[in-house]
């Protein structure tokens, strides 16, 4: 489907790509609309006015320069996480461990950030980002290797590795890498050196620019390279991949490594761009929102950007909504969960809209279970 879109020149019907793009958007858009509608009902039931709440929500996310800045800030790690999960999906892998990979990336970027002093920014930033990304990749490689060589399901192993990552980073931030400055009693690392902080470029945070570049790079990798073809073939039909001479094991490890690299990079960007240090508990749930985003974007790397922005707007506007309408900001989590529900169980939306199942490459959420 998507390949067909990218090769329009020889297609008889020039509008076909546009139509298929619109068709692909129906379910995600409908899922968001339905989720917002259900959210409105819940808000009304809690005694508030949904219109007031939603207008405050979008005002808080888009209403001013500062609001937009906050939205971009929230959306940046979501893009990395969404790309990480999407890339793994392309190879038929469900990476639930983006959270853990992101934490590893975040704490190691912080470590490079605070432990090296006096390095120029052009060296310090790339080094910290790279180390963070590589640590994310290493963390994911564990699950990838287990899957490839023992068949251990990546959903199980990545969930387990998430717990290990939570506790490992907690311990590092409260032990060897703890901020020992006078007065600090909480578990956190020292602040990173100013040279390691991500600057704004022409008013846009560098992290956001990197996120967009990463999305383009992932798109290119998936659709324009032989590696992407191998990844997708393994994801679509592993036995045909084997027949075609593709090593399923190698691609499984590679896909997890690339996925973990992106998640780790997301954690590093968040640390160096927003927080400035590592604090346990920062952005808990980001790895799971990444799954929502990947599914909302139907694992299309470019579509991950608008999907992340949408969730970013909600997160940025949540406190304004709570302030203006008295609706608890947790309602945003409820809406996100409903979106996830509908995009994951898209046959419900298809049934509501009386749509036929779509042709083309599929996202498999449960391959390998029970076999």
């Amino acid at each position: 489907m998507e390949r067909a879109e990218s090769q329009s020149p020889l297609q008889a019907d020039r509008l076909a790509p546009v139509r298929s793009l619109l068709r692909a958007m129906i379910v995600p858009v409908a899922s968001v609309v339905v989720a917002l509608a259900i959210g409105a009902v819940i808000i009304a039931l809690s005694g508030a006015n949904p219109l007031v709440a939603y207008s405050a929500l979008f005002e808080g996310g888009l209403g001013s320069g500062r609001a937009i800045g906050r939205t971009l800030e929230k959306a940046t790690p979501l893009i990395f996480g969404g790309l990480a999960v999407s890339l793994a999906f392309k190879c038929g892998l469900f990476n639930i461990g983006a959270q853990g990979q992101l934490l590893l990336g975040a704490i190691f970027a912080a470590f490079i950030g605070f432990s090296l002093q006096g390095l120029p920014a052009v060296l310090h930033i790339p080094l910290a980002l790279l180390v963070g990304a590589v640590m994310g990749a290493v963390w994911a490689a564990i699950a990838g290797t287990l899957k490839a060589f023992t068949g251990a399901h990546e959903v199980i192993t990545t969930i387990m590795l998430n717990f290990v990552a939570f506790n490992l980073t907690d311990w590092l931030a409260d032990g060897p890498w703890k901020d020992r400055s006078p007065g600090n009693i909480v578990a956190r690392t020292p602040a990173v050196a100013p040279e390691a902080r991500l600057p704004d470029i022409a008013g846009v945070p560098l992290g956001m620019i990197l996120a967009v570049l990463a999305a383009i790079a992932v798109w290119w990798l998936i659709w324009r390279t032989t590696i992407g073809f191998e990844l997708r073939t393994v994801g679509q039909n592993a036995s045909a991949a084997k027949y075609a001479g593709i090593s399923v094991r190698r691609m499984t490890v590679l896909a997890m490594v690339a996925s973990g690299f992106l998640a780790g990079l997301g954690g590093a960007v968040e640390t160096l761009g927003v927080v400035g240090r590592f604090q346990p508990g920062f952005n808990v749930g980001l790895g799971f929102q990444a799954i929502t985003i990947a599914l909302l974007a139907r694992t299309n790397p470019i579509a991950v950007i608008p999907a992340s922005l949408l969730i970013g707007v909600m997160q940025a506007g949540a406190s304004r909504m709570q302030f203006n309408s008295g609706v608890a900001s947790e309602i945003i989590d409820v809406i996100q969960a409903i979106i996830l529900f509908f995009v994951a169980a898209d046959s419900i939306i298809r049934w509501v809209l009386r749509l036929r199942a779509e042709e083309g490459e599929r996202v498999t959420l449960s391959s390998g279970w029970g076999s």
Binding site: A12, T226, I227, F229, S239, A240, Y243, A244, E359, G360
Partner: protein, 528 residues
């Protein structure tokens, strides 16, 4: 037939549409008491849809079904069973670890409260078995039965439920020629006692041999009705395809050259760790077609997988062009010039969610001109696709159509085009024409012979004895994981091959080779 016997089953103007296809259009059918009606048609002609409507799995959009003159609406298989319709599916629905009796009563259990009472059931099964010469022991475990015997269990299952209308869906696909003869005898004894049989097939010979009447379906419509007396294989084939077809394969003499594929004492294990290929040695020479005949499930599948690197070789040696490729990767084997048309084209040969163009480079995508370094050249892939679609006459709306939208025959042409467009020194074709239309079969046979004449070595594996006999220069018979005999195709007869396929000792002097120690005739074959 002067006095018209009672009509037991009638379909009137059945139409069934699926999104984008009309599977049945105005199909009418009459089945008389005591007759065998053969329903002939290519894959996708609508035979199975029609039967599924009669059996209650689908409901027609329009038209009606009458049983013994009474209009009925059959909404489920259990209802059709109640009305006396029994169906024997192509794939048996039996529990291997249950006995015959347990399988037969499954869903119709007799007994006291929660306790099973098999005594009555066993008694009835013995009676039925005797009455129809079915020769089935109610206490045998299904897993120990041959495929032919399992099929008889399915037939008894229907009779046990008092079915007097039997639908047999491609019943001979898994049988040896001798087992087919036995099945025909059973069908005759059923009809002699008043049962009626619908026999679904795409094999012309069988329809002519067993049917009282033959109905031909094409593209969802009834295109003709005839009797074996009036019809010939040629006339039936024309009806099925809609044009005249060549039934005989034209091929010149083979000019065998040096050995290309050499197997030495190859053994292979199946997924459960059972040794299913037991020391196969053979040579395939350049410029010849070696056909492997055998009933499905005798190790052919695993042998091909082992040669092509998809399954480990347990012991023994595989050489291609003198190079040892035992347990080499599929890619290395493919790069020796080994083309592989896999048995399961949907599962192994194609990625159904990919375009035709992508499928045409499925195993060459990384080589120039399709890729430069790691960057794909979509233009080159598309040009290549358009060229092959033209040359191999693949019927597709375009190179960017998803391959899942193509018919079985055209899917197979995509695979053939991909495999033969490389430089081929060894072609391994497993079931190359299974389930595809006669027109495509003709084309694919010509391509295989052309490849031989170009000097490639061809290893052909097929469950269709006719195909083996028509294409091969030499025929190796595989039974229980062994090559029990290798014969020159020119002198091999159906009967002889059939006996060998069933495990008989080779007796013909024409046998070049017979490995020692293979099992005697009466050993039961393992299930498929």
């Amino acid at each position: 037939m002067t006095a018209e016997p009672e009509i037991v089953l009638e379909a009137r103007n059945i139409t069934k549409r699926f999104p984008g296809v009309v599977a049945n259009e105005n199909v009418s059918l009459k089945l008389h008491r005591g007759e065998v009606l053969a329903l002939l048609g290519e894959n996708g002609a609508g035979k199975t849809t029609l039967m599924n409507i009669l059996y209650g799995l689908y409901h027609q959009d329009s038209g009606e079904v009458l049983i013994r003159g009474e209009p009925v609406r059959i909404s489920s298989p259990s209802e059709s069973i109640k009305r006396g319709i029994g169906m024997v599916h192509q794939h048996f629905m039996l529990v291997p670890v249950f006995t015959v009796a347990e399988n037969i009563i499954l869903g119709a259990e007799t007994g006291n409260g929660p306790f099973l009472d098999l005594k009555v059931a066993r008694q009835r099964i013995r009676e039925l078995s005797r009455q129809y010469h079915l020769d089935v022991d109610p206490d045998a475990y299904v897993k120990d039965l041959s495929v032919g015997q399992q099929q008889r269990v399915e037939i008894i299952k229907a009779l046990y439920r008092n079915a007097d209308i039997l639908i047999l869906d491609e019943p001979t696909a898994v049988l040896t020629p001798q087992e087919t003869e036995e099945l025909f005898a059973i069908i005759r004894s059923l009809t002699a006692r008043g049962a009626s049989v619908i026999f679904i097939s795409h094999k012309l010979k069988e329809a002519l041999a067993i049917a009282d009447r033959i109905m031909v379906l094409r593209r969802g419509r009834v295109v003709g009705e005839t009797t074996p007396r009036e019809a010939t294989e040629r006339s039936l084939a024309e009806m099925m395809v809609g044009r005249s077809v060549m039934l005989e394969v034209e091929k010149g003499e083979a000019h065998p050259g040096a050995p290309v594929l050499t197997l030495e004492n190859v053994t292979v294990l199946d997924d459960r760790g059972q040794q299913v290929v037991n020391g196969v040695s053979l040579e395939v020479h350049a410029g010849e077609i070696l056909g492997i005949a055998g009933v499905q499930g005798n190790g052919q599948t695993e042998l091909v997988e082992a040669i092509t690197g998809l399954r480990p070789v347990h012991s023994g040696r595989v050489r291609i062009n003198g190079r040892d490729v035992t347990n080499a990767s599929p890619r290395r084997i493919s790069e020796t010039g080994c083309a592989h048309v896999p048995e399961d084209r949907q599962e192994d040969g194609l990625v159904l969610t990919y375009t035709v163009a992508d499928n045409l480079v499925l195993n060459t995508y990384y080589t120039p001109p399709f890729a430069h370094g790691i960057v794909r050249d979509d233009r080159a892939i598309l040009d290549h696709a358009n060229r092959l679609i033209e040359r191999y006459d693949v019927r597709t709306p375009g190179a960017l159509t998803l391959v899942s939208a193509l018919s079985g025959g055209n899917k197979q042409k995509v695979i053939i085009a991909r495999e033969l467009s490389r430089e081929v020194r060894l072609l391994i074709a497993a079931q190359p024409t299974r389930g595809i239309d006669v027109g495509s079969i003709e084309f694919i046979h010509q391509q295989i012979i052309a490849e031989r004449d170009r000097g490639a070595a061809v290893l052909l594996v097929s469950a269709e004895l006719d195909e083996i006999m028509a294409l091969s220069d030499r025929i190796a018979v595989m039974y229980h994981g062994r090559i029990v005999a290798t014969l020159p195709a020119a002198s091999a007869t159906r009967e002889e091959l059939g006996l060998l396929m069933a495990g008989a000792q080779p007796v013909n002097a024409a046998s070049e080779l017979a490995t020692d120690g293979h099992e005697p005739v009466n050993v039961q074959r393992r299930g498929v």
